[in-house]
Symmetry: D2
């Protein structure tokens, strides 16, 4: 039974997450109706809650790392999705503009990533809604054997695959240092390993060091050890082939420049920082050491598709990256926890005990 009114979480101002209600619109020919299971809270979500990225507007019906079950489909969908399928969603995109034709939907020229795409009142994708209707082209099919909160990792994993594509990781050859063992850091680490990289994780916080070790990585305790020295030790003084900055911090940026190999290293600026970090770039050093400083953000359609494939085929295991499950009616508590150096907080949208 699809309720007349759906519930959804939204941010109404800095530090305030609430549950609101609205009606579901009519299902169109090219759309799917999905009963949402979970939506994980992303950095983008809780940094707005913290007041660090308030440019995105209020009220923000955010949330974009979610998964659910198809309960109805429009008449023009073809055989790709059937009622009962588990799905995960992508960012919105028009599919018409030149950027979308290249698959670069994060750059879509017609549809804003967190615009008022589903309401005149609310910004955001309504990820924390109990049900939603979206164009079928914005879903990927997920393996029903995954837990819903694992299936919800398609969007963040897509951005990690974009990073790997930009980095052109050399499988079986590269040694990758990931600085920062938060959710995105360890997701990068897990993917780099699954793609044939040797991975070293550098982190300061005890809990994150512990999870990094449980996931099987070589770990530097950056509170007690000098990360640059340790990387040199781990690599026979050769230095890292690749450094992925999964934190946006000046100190980390400059560490990266010192722990790389003599020539031809790559540094990925995977994370933005608020407040904005610095980086001591000396153009002559970049030139002589042939360094590549590579920015990465968002995902292409292919990245999302590949992310679904990696999760569905269990090529990586994200189970340790889920900190806690909290039901939608406690969404304010969920945001508080997301704000406390935790891994993903998973908001359960159907109130069942998991």
């Amino acid at each position: 039974m699809i309720p007349e009114k759906i519930k959804f979480g939204c941010l109404t101002k800095k530090g305030m997450a609430e549950v609101h209600e609205r009606s579901l619109p009519q299902l169109k020919a090219d759309e799917l109706l999905v009963k949402q299971e979970v939506c994980n809270i992303c950095t983008t979500d809780y940094q707005q809650w913290q007041g660090l990225r308030e440019h995105q507007g209020y009220p923000m019906a955010g949330g974009h790392e979610c998964s659910g079950i198809v309960v109805d489909k429009g008449s023009d969908i073809g055989n790709t999705f059937e009622v009962g399928d588990r799905v995960s969603i992508l960012y919105d995109y028009c599919g018409i503009c030149s950027q979308c034709k290249m698959g670069e939907i994060t750059n879509c020229e017609n549809i804003k990533m967190f615009g008022k795409n589903y309401s005149n009142e609310y910004y955001g994708l309504f990820g924390f809604a109990t049900y939603f209707i979206r164009k079928a082209k914005s879903f990927v099919k997920m393996n029903p054997k995954l837990r819903p909160e694992e299936a919800a990792f398609v969007e963040p994993l897509g951005s990690v695959l974009q990073n790997m594509k930009k980095l052109r990781l050399r499988p079986g050859k590269d040694t990758v240092v990931v600085i920062g063992a938060g959710t995105m850091g360890l997701l990068n680490a897990a993917v780099a390993r699954a793609m044939g990289g040797r991975v070293i994780v550098s982190e300061m916080m005890d809990k994150k060091i512990d999870i990094s070790r449980r996931m099987g990585f070589e770990v530097i305790n950056a509170k007690e050890e000098d990360p640059v020295e340790k990387v040199m030790e781990f690599t026979n003084d050769l230095g890292a082939d690749v450094v992925i900055l999964a934190v946006g911090a000046t100190a980390a940026n400059n560490q990266a420049l010192k722990m790389i190999k003599k020539r031809d290293a790559k540094i990925s600026l995977f994370a933005a920082g608020y407040p904005a970090p610095q980086m001591d770039i000396d153009p002559n050093m970049i030139h002589y050491k042939k360094i590549e400083v590579i920015g990465t953000f968002g995902s292409s359609l292919e990245d999302y598709n590949d992310a679904a494939g990696m999760l569905n085929e269990k090529r990586i295991d994200v189970s340790l990256l889920i900190e806690e499950r909290i039901s939608l009616d406690k969404i304010q508590e969920a945001f508080e926890k997301a704000n406390s150096n935790n891994y993903r907080i998973s908001v359960m949208l159907q109130q069942k005990t998991v």
Copy 2:
């Protein structure tokens, strides 16, 4: 003024092209209404007319190398297309399935390439129609300074770009031999040159040899010279890095195996042949000489987008690949000419003198 009835060319049986009429459907929110200017006759079109590819079904409202002007747009298109824009069309695709998400729309799992996608009665894309309505996502914008029949080269050029992607041409380094100087052969030659290849064209027919020379290529007259010997002569006995087979013929296939360099050459099977050709593949030779035999067919969304870009920026010149312009009411004559070893016959859909 958009007429109540549109006219369109179609194949009703082997050897028979006719002009039929039908009404235009209603314009939907995600669609464009286009006043078509021209549609060039492709090999797929005239080989059905010849009876060589009749598996595609009758009546066939074919034609897929066309261009026109946007005369109306639906409400959900965004700013990508405006009334008055020149556009060219792509193959149909759902945009929903996994293959479309990878951009591989030629492999679309929901929509058949020449299916009955626009009518219960006719197969085909209605390329030879005076007007048509299509989803906006199936168009690319074209430079108004191009002639319409040049703008219509997006689809064949897209398939050539797919070929180049598969071949991973090494710009500034590779010597490419193209066997067969028909439209698709010279299009491959033009693109290989624009991408930094040295290009040698091998052809038997005087007219095509002449056009190849006028386009500035090094040419082998395969009727009078031995193509294998000539390639060795042109390359200081090194042989070709790449051979593109733009004809589907056993003799050409086996020539290719003999004119390549000693190691690491690539051979592209760009063209199907009717009747089906053979190729003397010795697996041990493929192994020891490290040959790559590469099949290629169709285009990705990115290929189409890039094809539009190349034409729009005039990075290649296709003007010599247009043999003649014939108005729609003489479509049977147009097919007769297309069937006579000519370059593209361009069917003019608005009856104006060009």
Copy 3:
């Protein structure tokens, strides 16, 4: 103590391996003197013993999968190698010709792979010699913690890395079927997995099926199951992205064509076959299915270097690919065993018990 006379294994005719003696030449400025530890018997070696590849000439002082310890170095070596280092050798190459400059030393224009490069009397690289002198540029440094017979895997591993480079394996994405679980098949399988591929091995022989399972691969018992059906079952009817033919046999070649995915699959002809196999290539099918048939043979300098790195960093484990250790004085017995569907037979050159 370096003996005045060194001993070495050689093939004097079909089916006959003997131990001969000769003097060591003088060490030159650009050379290393190496006390050999082991040399594994390669397919090339025992197929000559079997009389299948006799074109290589007798007497053949073959063997080229070996490792040892540097005992003296010339004056122009620099700091790359020191006395006491464990090393493994590469094929001979001039380093001067254009192919060598590209790193493609297997294609060297001046030095024949198994020519009379070290003697007027014997062909071959003297891999089964107790000591030898070679140019320093033909060695790579190995991790002393490896067993000598593992360090001897540089050459075969190099050829597998060449294969992977030609295949452009997509890490985290591709499903790879390896047909044939001999030494080279499982080496390909191990590398494909280490580079982020999902690997399925197809094999008929019980012992090899068992070793494949012990190495952790998904395995098809091709004696009891239909390999094509099983691959479809393993891949949800999608088929393999990549098939590596690690046997040179007609039946396997044709299986490969049937177990691949609908579009864009790659088939690697990794192994030559004696007698020469066939393959049912239909050029139209290659074209429409966009198949790549890729030959691969030998290794580049970079491949060898990377192979040493992979072994040294223990990114793959080859221990199960070593069947037995046999001392040099029993080299005829070693060849008999190599000839009986076994994994690598390792010839111990210093007669110690391992």
Copy 4:
């Protein structure tokens, strides 16, 4: 007749170039004796003369962009080089270390680029010598139909090819802006065009603007026009795909950041600057705009080999990049001219009138 004493140009202190004499050493088995024709003066050479890069040491028998004719060969060379061949030289490298095995000879671990490799007294490669002896592996063969001063472009062209490899230029697609139309800028421009890029050159100096136009490039007069605005105008407000900084200057670096396209642009730091330039890198901007800042320096063996191929096959024309020919006895004058915003000054080593 090979003279007992050879003459060579060298820098004895800041601002002082002199001609000295020495004997030729004995030819060894792996060496070539070359009668040098010309050596062009590189930036590295004249910036030492200017006192900007004096860390390289005096007396500096520099010069490394040279070509000549083989007059004798050692016994171990094979058939790659014959007496009478025109050749050009590469940087020194050991060929033994891991970097050389990867082809990255600029990173050679045993031999310093401008060390005292040929003399206990002089630094440098003796490029300005009338004759020299070098290992055969350090030469590439050149087309005798080239002028000697064109054949001498192998080394600088190699560094441009390294740059292109790092940039992964997309042929037929990318628009490349080159800032700075000196020798290296226009060499980059010529190669980018030969590899299928659209090229726009930005320059302030009248003479260089004129040469850029004569070479057929789209040109921005940066003294009179705003380069950022002009690039936007040239590209329909899309911005450049790639910017190559062929000058090491803060203003140019920051222009580059403003003239690139919105997402996924690449900026190459091709040139070092003396004094050291700055660049206003904002890590958040690099992240969100997915910019790649790429350092490049030196060449691999493959780059040199490819550079020889490009010149030999006349895929680019460097004739306008040669400013003047001056004989060795006037080497101080040659350096004065090289120091005056000129293109390459070619030092003629055999005193003939060209």
